[in-house]
């Protein structure tokens, strides 16, 4: 059975504001779901809801046709989430951070050194993460995506604090992931040029 992420009739209310209502989507392998909207329009909230960290007013999210909340562990084993905060430890080095990640989640056969070279952080291996710039830390978080062996990527503003090469790298990585049969949900406030089937949701 092939993987599939879908949602029906999602409604989320935070405080007094309705962020989105009756939202549906379906995502098949090789496809990208692009969440567009202004700051504060609920992109991050939707991503958190997909990850199962936020309870919705109504609606349900399905992974392989079964509700996510009934198979949280399997679903979390199939996704990796690049959040606004990188979730990396400033006091640990890049390798220590990535190794810890490897003890939680299935890892691909990609070699750590090769991936570090690819995302341009191989010179920084011995430094504690706090001494790296914001863009370099985002690159470490990108390495975490590539190293994970999971079908679904959740990306929250993946272009933040990256230079032009970095932004190009993100596009390339996402395209490669989609070509190899992966899925991706991306929240972005700017236009994204990606060569794949793109579903757009405006929030």
């Amino acid at each position: 059975m092939t993987e599939k992420l879908s949602a029906t009739n999602l409604t989320l209310i935070r405080g007094e504001r309705c962020l989105f209502q009756e939202l549906d989507f379906a995502l098949n392998p090789g496809e990208l779901l692009l969440l567009k909207g202004q700051n504060g329009s609920g992109k991050t909230s939707l991503l958190r809801a997909i990850a199962g960290m936020l309870s919705l007013e109504s609606g349900e999210i399905f992974w392989n046709e079964a509700p996510v909340l009934q198979q949280r562990q399997e679903f979390h084993g199939a996704l990796v989430w690049l959040a606004h905060k990188t979730g990396l430890k400033g006091d640990l080095t890049l390798v220590e951070n990535l190794r810890f990640e490897a003890s939680l989640r299935p890892q691909s056969d990609n070699d750590l050194a090769v991936v570090c070279e690819r995302v341009g952080i191989s010179r920084l291996k011995r430094l504690p993460l706090r001494s790296l710039s914001a863009g370099q830390q985002r690159r470490v978080a990108l390495a975490r995506l590539v190293l994970a062996d999971v079908p679904l990527w959740l990306l929250d503003e993946p272009f933040t604090s990256l230079d032009r090469d970095g932004r190009h790298l993100v596009t390339q990585l996402v395209e490669e992931h989609l070509t190899s049969g992966g899925m991706c949900v991306m929240a972005a406030h700017q236009d994204v040029e990606i060569n794949a089937t793109v579903h757009r949701v405006s929030l």
């Binding site: 059975m1 993987e3 990850a51 199962g52 960290m53 936020l54 309870s55 392989n64 079964a66 198979q71 562990q73 399997e74 979390h76 084993g77 199939a78 996704l79 989430w81 959040a83 606004h84 905060k85 990188t86 979730g87 990396l88 430890k89 400033g90 006091d91 640990l92 220590e96 190794r99 810890f100 990640e101 490897a102 003890s103 939680l104 989640r105 299935p106 890892q107 504690p128 062996d149 999971v150």
Partner: protein
């Protein structure tokens, strides 16, 4: 339904990994370990100065003072248990990890005990001597502190998980935890007092042990549930 990915790391590996990570972080920031230890040592050494060096007074108050100081030192350290993970987003990453959250929480509790509870137990004999405690009573003190600090690290993590999103949650955390910590304090201090009076004290040790086992079996689940609630 698709079976779990065969490449998925084992639960045991993730438990070891998170304990190791937290120990490594504590070593990189030794101040976090030393703070509660300093507090414990300071309270225990200042008390005799304040009440006077009378031998009888000191032997009487020793067990109580040592135990109250240990309890407060542990409470002070609990606030930071999930704080830095919350701030840098790694708590969110733990919440979406495919490993069972209670196991990850347990790993953090183990690391917390190894960096705060265990050092307290280890320096307690030195401080107990200030209170003219005989050697065999010091043994009982260490045993009760050993079991007691395990209880406090486990129970305290529930409170730490509930207050993780709050600014200045220390007061609330203490308030939440104190009712659960009270039996530990009463049992611990009275057991040491009984031992000092050469009376039977084994019941207290067994009761503390039972409390520790109860905490060990329930606290990871309660902490995991609390983390999910406070991170909504």
């Amino acid at each position: 339904m698709k079976a779990t990915n065969p490449k998925q790391p084992s639960i045991f590996a993730s438990l070891i990994a998170i304990t190791r990570r937290d120990l490594l972080l504590a070593l990189r920031r030794p101040g976090d370990i030393l703070n509660p230890l300093f507090f414990f040592a300071m309270v225990c050494t200042l008390f005799p100065l304040a009440v006077g060096p009378g031998a009888e007074q000191l032997t009487l108050s020793g067990p109580g003072v040592l135990w109250v100081a240990a309890l407060l030192a542990t409470l002070l350290s609990l606030n930071s248990l999930f704080m830095s993970d919350h701030e840098d987003g790694s708590l969110d990453q733990l919440l979406v990890s495919p490993q069972p959250l209670p196991i990850l929480a347990l790993g953090k509790m183990i690391a917390h005990w190894l960096t705060t509870g265990l050092p307290l137990v280890l320096i307690s004999p030195l401080l107990a001597m200030t209170y003219r405690m005989p050697v065999d009573v010091i043994g009982v003190l260490m045993l009760t502190l050993l079991l007691g600090t395990v209880c406090l690290s486990l129970l305290g993590s529930i409170g730490a998980a509930l207050t993780v999103g709050l600014h200045r949650g220390t007061a609330l955390l203490s308030l939440l935890i104190l009712p659960l910590a009270m039996p530990v304090l009463l049992l611990g201090a009275s057991t040491v007092s009984l031992a000092a009076d050469s009376e039977l004290y084994a019941t207290g040790i067994w009761a503390l042990g039972a409390y520790a086992v109860l905490a060990l079996s329930l606290a990871p689940y309660a902490t995991a549930a609390a983390l999910r609630i406070s991170n909504e």
